[in-house]
Structures are given as structure tokens and as C-alpha cells.
Point group: C3
Chain length 323, copies 3
């Protein structure tokens, strides 16, 4: 097991079970501390005097907020940067931006970028640790860690559970990171979605595959719905250009791969429903299901801040400054 | 009198006199403390460890800054969010955004929204206290509280004073909040403006009405000019479409309902002039008047931060942490 | 020598040698403290409880970040404001914005504006000290101070050095501020660039002039390349409108006034290369040169934060709160 100290987190794929366990354990401690805390300042100020840079080349209110709040709680300064399009080529901008930021001596870069691999490239250029906050269709590892934490919290463990991931598997960085993480922790992962949105090689990732949600859902202990990118779907609605024939219509998608009060009747007792957000209510999930008794969607949001605190604490904290 | 502790402030209409008095009294204490303070950190750090979210669906530099500085001074963290247009319907976005924010465990939401009632709806959905920082044509209660504070500071009290509000009464959330607040505190409120911009039922709010500024101004102890929304006026200028015939031309507006060096000659000795900002100089108020001896416009800005500190302190502070 | 206490910095032209020396000396102390510091919070919290406003009328990620990090390190709150275009005339907006900000009681305004003279005008209106962070083609004094600091650090001093500034001298606020600063400190400054981009009166600033980079570079101890504004150049590329005939084509510019591995062979042993960033790699400087052994470009970035800390510390700090 590699130490987390001053380490970048680029891919869930590279994480060993003990490394994931270290994050989940720290998150559990911090959650207990956070919930039990009364008074003025959160007692675990392990990032006091540190600077965390949120470097978001793609806009994101939720993930950016989650990292900002996590850093705030631990006492860090947060610098929010959203570089815009530039007249010079992307590669130069990224390199130049990264080297400049490094020269300003920050302690951590949280990077979101539309291009798969951008955070990895940055991590080769700068010595500052980097957390990948989502890169193209590649990975979003902190999302997978918070999902694993939420599953364990709700189900008492994750090993041996049957976890079903539903939707556009081919273009989902969340799906990729989750598959790696859940499998490393010993879960059985299945995927489900329209045939055109399942990559041909998906079974090589160690998952099983079913195109029929009504059938697949019966065995699941955990059902994770992915967000449909409406801007793609739009092309296939009446009046759209139908340029992209990979996607079924929204109605078809919702009918066959959406979760609604009818579908959830097939669920096992005690199964849970997850979604990385933001929701397209009425498309991949109905409002009744999203806010219903099976749903742990808001727990995911809440645990998102906690798990990111744990990550930052392991990477930057001195481990002994708790009051 | 309801306690301010963990309470939302959605409408000035709902405030009792003792509730308003509690805010004004705390603002007075905090202003004294702020002005007398020398040294490094403001001694009243009653929001240390708290997180205030500025959730501004409408852009606003001034109001957002005022809340941010107020929270900063008391030791809170501030998270600035400006959600943009989304492909999903507004109702869902608002609900979804609110539930997600709540899951991240903030202590206070400061909400501005273009739709009247949005902060109220949020306050029914989430348990986090909310301050309405302006919603459509409905209310802007913290503005009314800072205006009341400024009037009392300048005039030694507000009860029995004649307060004249001038301009587009029909579409002004500031006017509505001020009418409720000033009346609750015992002032006599009159409104003045073009007939097309005075709602027919305005007298049911307990105010008197005069269409002639030159006449109405003579009795006033306080004259509050409202901001004209230039984007509406523009439609009536030469070359505009004249689609909206509710509004007089800018020249006509300025001549009949604007405040200039000629108009202020009618003012009583000791009367004061207010404006919620930002000013359209030369339209509803001339620069000489805005910066002249009657004007307390900058006091309003300065007291804005103080009164918002008082509100946050009452809602979130523990009341006993002053150094 | 005027005291720095509560003082505005609008122009490098107005600075005496002892005044510049005071900044450089404080920067040297703070750099030593910063590099030697281990533990949680930077020990020199001389701006604790102070509010610094970044008032950027022009967008700037780098300079804004540099000031924000400098203020953060010393313990200040930072309020970021980026006023957008408004329907009222600029002069009114600027005045109104400034008076409003002043009423909110900040301790320092850092102002960037597209119009030369805007920070000066503000400094006449408000009592809050102002640092000019770049105004039109006029000045960018903190850039010149960090450049002087970087030169002294690299070369052991600046007096008597030959400093060559290359590029669009006519439209560069960096060039103007640097010429004043370097000359005041006793350096010999030369400028070089296309004849159309050298102001006719440049020699009245006390600099020498050479149109040939290959010749001028041989004597230089320091070569400072300026950034070419690509949006101007674009007009002269094939297909452009050629409306602006002041500028040579990019290819021509790069060939005659760009720095590449061939050009730097002419450099003296121990000479250094500077650039205020962001770089147009392949235009005014090649990547090999920018990242090569002569280059101190990243030192400029790193020292930028330090020198801005020194400025803020002199202007706002109490000078005795170091732990």
C-alpha cells in the first residue's frame, strides 16, 4: 500500500483495496467527528494554512462546492479558478497554467477537464498533488469513493453485494471509476443500458451485462442510475437532427431504462438506489423514486463532502492536529 | 415575538415590531463595536465555523458583497453560487439545488431569485434558515431593515415620521418591504409615481398616494427614490418599440418624478434622501442631490453590512462569544 | 521617502529609490519566512481581520490569483468583484462603484481597468488605499516591483545592469512601469521592437533604442520579452482585414523579434530571460527558451505573490505582529 501523503489521485483503477480502505476509514472518523461537533470551529483543522486550488476547466457547481466546503471545514484557503477559452492551443494553456500555478506554491490542485487524461498530464508536469475531479469520459475517482462509503454505510459492507449500474455506460466517467472501486472492494458489478451505450468490451472490466432493466434489477442490492446527457438526447427527439443515432429517444429511454414506481416494485427488500446527480427527473429516474424510501441520493451528496475531507486530510494533513 | 434563532427571513410583512426592534438593536451594538474596534480580528466572531451560502440565481454585485462581507466579519465561511440556466425545468432545478445544498450541511442560505416566492418555497423544502435577498417583485426584507436603521440613525427615530417612496411602486420589491417595515414601526408612508406604475390597490397597504412629487415632497421627513429599470424604459425612447406603454419616457419621468436641485428646494429642513442603489444618475436622481447634504445613500450601503451582520448574528450566533 | 502606510500605489513613475528598496527588502524577509516556514499557519498574519477587494474590470486569472494568494497568506479576507458592462456611462459606474465599496469599509482595493487613469481617479475619490493592478496602456507597478526583485535575486543586484525590453513597447503597461522602476534603481534600460511599435518619444524616458534584436541582445544582462496581443496581430494574418497596419505579421514578428534557441546563442554568459506571462509560445518566445536555463519566468510568478505580500504588508500591516 502506497502512502496517501502528498499523492495525486488520478484514477480509481490504480487504487488497491487497502488504499481505498484507508480513505473510507478516515471518512468514517471524520463523519463521526463532524456530526458530534458542537461549538465554533470544527476541531480537526488539519489543513490550516494550506491552499487548495479548484481548477475547473469545465463548469460544475456541485462538485466544486463539495471540494470547497471540504477544504473550508479543515481550515484551508480555497482559490477558485475557471480558465476560459484562450487563443493559444490547449496543450500550451494547460502546461502554462499548471506551471504558473505550481510557482504560486499551492498545496493541492483539484482539476476538472473535458479531456480524458488532462489531470494525469498535469500530474507529470507539476509536483503539487492533484485530485482528478472528472476528466472527459475517463474517471471521477472521488465520486466512486463517496459511493462506496455510502453503500457501506447503508448496507453495512460492500463485499459480495450485487451492484447494478444503469445507463450510458460508454460515456460515463462515474461508471468507470465505480466499476474499478466496487470490484476492488469485492462487490459483483453488473451493467445495464441500451445496447448502443454499452461498450463492446465492457465484460473485460469484470462486470456482467444485461440489457433488460426489469430482469437485472431483481438481483441487485444496489442500483446506481447514471445521468443522461440531455444535450445528446436532444438530437434524437422529433425535430432534432438525428445525427447521433447511438441514443434512443427520451421516451424510449425512460420506458426501458428509467426507474419509476413500477420498476422499483421488482427491487429486493433493503436494496438502495443511487444517482451521482444532477437528476433528470422523469428521464432516468422519477421524482417519487428519487425521494422515496430506497433512495440514498442525498446521503451521497452529504458523504461527498466527508469523503473529500478524508482525501484531503490523508494527502495534506499532518494526522495529529485534532483538538 | 418569535425568536430569531435558526429562523428564515422571507418577508418584511411577517415581522412584528419587537422582531424588527431586535434586529435594529443588535445592529446598533454591532455598529458601535465595529467602529470602536482596533487591532487584528473583529472581536465578535459569532459565526466562526459556520458556512453561509450566497445562492444568487440573479446576478448582484452589491447585495452579494454586502452579505459576503457581513459573514466574513463574523468569522463565517462564504460559498458563492450562481446557478445558471439549465435544460431542465426551473421547479426541478430549484428543488434539486436546495436539497443538494442542504445535504452539504450549510448553516444559512442567502437567496436571490427572479421569481417571487422562490425563497419561500425553498424554506418549506429545507431545514436550513434562509434570508430572502430579493425575489422578483415580491420582497427584499434586509433592504427594508437597513433602511429603517438608517432612518433612525439620521432622524433619531422613525415613529410618526412621514416617509415618501417615489418611483415604480408596482414593480419594486424594495417598496413593498419598506412599506411593511416602516408602517409596523409607526411611520406614515406615502407613495408617489406615474399613475401607470402605482398598483390600484396600493392604499390597502395603509399608505397615502400622490401623483405629484412637487406637492408630496413638502411634507416628507424622508424621501426614498426607487431605481428605474432602464431596460424597461428603453422601449419607450425614440427608436424603441413602445411595446410597453406603462412607462413614460425617461425625459418625462425625470422631469416629473426625478429628484434634482430644483425639487429638493421644496424639502423640509432636516429631511433626508435615500436610494437603494445602484443609481441612475440624471434619471430618478441627479448627481448633486445624490451626493448632497440631504443624502444618506452611502450610509445605507455602510449600514447594509452592519444590519446583515445583525441578522446573521441573531439567526446563527450563540449570543455569547464576544471577546 | 513617503511612508507606505495606508498609501495607494498607482504608478511606478512616482516611486523613489528608497520607496522601492523598502518593498524589495520586505519581500526578501517575507520570502525567507515563507520558505523556512513549517507547520500550520503562516506566522506573519499581519492582515488578519483586514478585507482586500479584488476589483477587476478586466478579466485576469493570473494577477487576480497572485493578489488573492498574497492576501490569504497574510490572513486577510478577499472579496472578488468583476463588474460587468452596465447600461449607464462608465464614469458614473466607476464613481458609484467606488463610493459604494468605500462605504462597505474595506481596507484595500486592488484595481484592474481597461482605461488608463481609472485607478488614479478612484484614488482621488475614495480614502481606501488602492493598488493599480494594470490600467490600459498606462502602468502595472506591482509587476515592475516583482521583476526588479527577481532580477536582484538572480543577478545579486540591479544597479548598472543592462536590461533589454523587447516587443510592443508602445502599448505595454508592463514596459512603462519597468522602465521607470529599473531606471530609478540605476539600471541601463534599452528597448527593442518593430519600429511601428516603439513610441517616437521613447528616448525621453531615458532608454536607448535598437530595432535589431540580434545586435541588442549581445550586451544585455537581462532580456525581458513582452507579450504580443494576438487579437491585434490577427488582423494582419492572411485573411484578416489588415485594418491595423501597425503590426507586422506573426511570422515576421517571430523571426525578427522573437527569442528562440538560435537567438539566445548571442546571450552573454549568466544573462537571464524574463516574460510577464502569459506566454505566446512560438511567437515572442519559443518553448525551449521559456523553459531553458536562462529563463527566470517561473521565478517571476513565484516572486509575484511574495512582492504583493510585501506591498500589502507595508500598506496595511502593523509591522509587529509576526509570531
Amino acid at each position: 500500500m502506497k502512502s496517501w501523503k502528498n499523492r495525486s489521485l488520478i484514477e480509481a483503477r490504480e487504487l488497491s483495496e487497502p488504499e481505498i480502505r484507508a480513505v473510507l476509514a478516515r471518512a468514517g472518523e471524520l463523519k463521526k467527528l463532524w456530526q458530534g461537533w458542537r461549538g465554533s470551529e470544527f476541531p480537526h483543522q488539519s489543513l490550516r494554512g494550506k491552499t487548495v486550488v479548484n481548477l475547473f476547466f469545465e463548469p460544475s457547481t456541485r462538485t466544486r462546492s463539495s471540494f470547497e466546503l471540504a477544504a473550508d471545514r479543515l481550515g484551508a484557503h480555497v482559490l477558485n479558478l475557471s480558465p476560459e477559452g484562450s487563443s493559444i492551443s490547449k496543450g500550451e494553456t494547460l502546461f502554462d497554467t499548471a506551471k504558473n500555478l505550481e510557482a504560486m506554491d499551492p498545496d493541492l490542485l483539484v482539476v476538472r477537464h473535458a479531456s480524458a487524461g488532462a489531470p494525469y498530464q498535469l500530474s507529470k508536469i507539476v509536483r503539487v498533488p492533484i485530485i482528478n475531479a472528472g476528466d472527459g469520459f475517463h474517471e471521477h475517482p472521488s465520486q466512486a469513493l463517496l459511493d462506496a462509503f455510502t453503500i457501506e454505510e447503508a448496507k453495512g459492507g460492500i463485499k459480495g453485494l450485487r451492484i447494478l449500474i444503469v445507463g450510458d455506460i460508454a460515456h460515463s466517467r462515474v461508471a468507470r471509476s465505480c466499476i474499478y472501486t466496487f470490484r476492488t472492494l469485492g462487490a459483483k458489478v453488473a451493467v445495464c443500458g441500451p445496447p448502443s451505450l454499452i461498450p463492446p468490451s465492457v465484460e473485460s472490466l469484470g462486470v456482467t451485462l444485461d440489457y433488460h432493466l426489469h430482469r437485472a434489477i431483481r438481483d441487485a442490492d444496489v442500483v446506481m442510475m447514471l445521468r443522461i446527457q440531455l444535450e445528446r438526447q436532444a438530437r434524437n427527439t422529433p425535430g432534432g437532427t438525428r445525427a447521433n443515432t447511438q441514443f434512443p429517444s427520451l421516451g424510449e429511454y425512460s420506458r426501458f431504462w428509467g426507474l419509476n414506481v413500477e420498476t422499483v416494485k421488482e427491487l429486493k427488500q433493503g436494496a438502495i438506489i443511487m444517482h451521482p446527480g444532477p437528476l433528470n427527473e422523469g428521464v432516468e429516474i422519477s421524482q417519487e423514486v428519487a425521494t422515496g424510501p430506497y433512495s440514498v441520493i442525498l446521503n451521497q451528496v452529504s458523504n461527498g463532502v466527508i469523503v473529500r475531507m478524508a482525501l484531503m486530510d490523508l494527502i495534506l494533513g499532518n494526522g495529529g492536529r485534532s483538538a
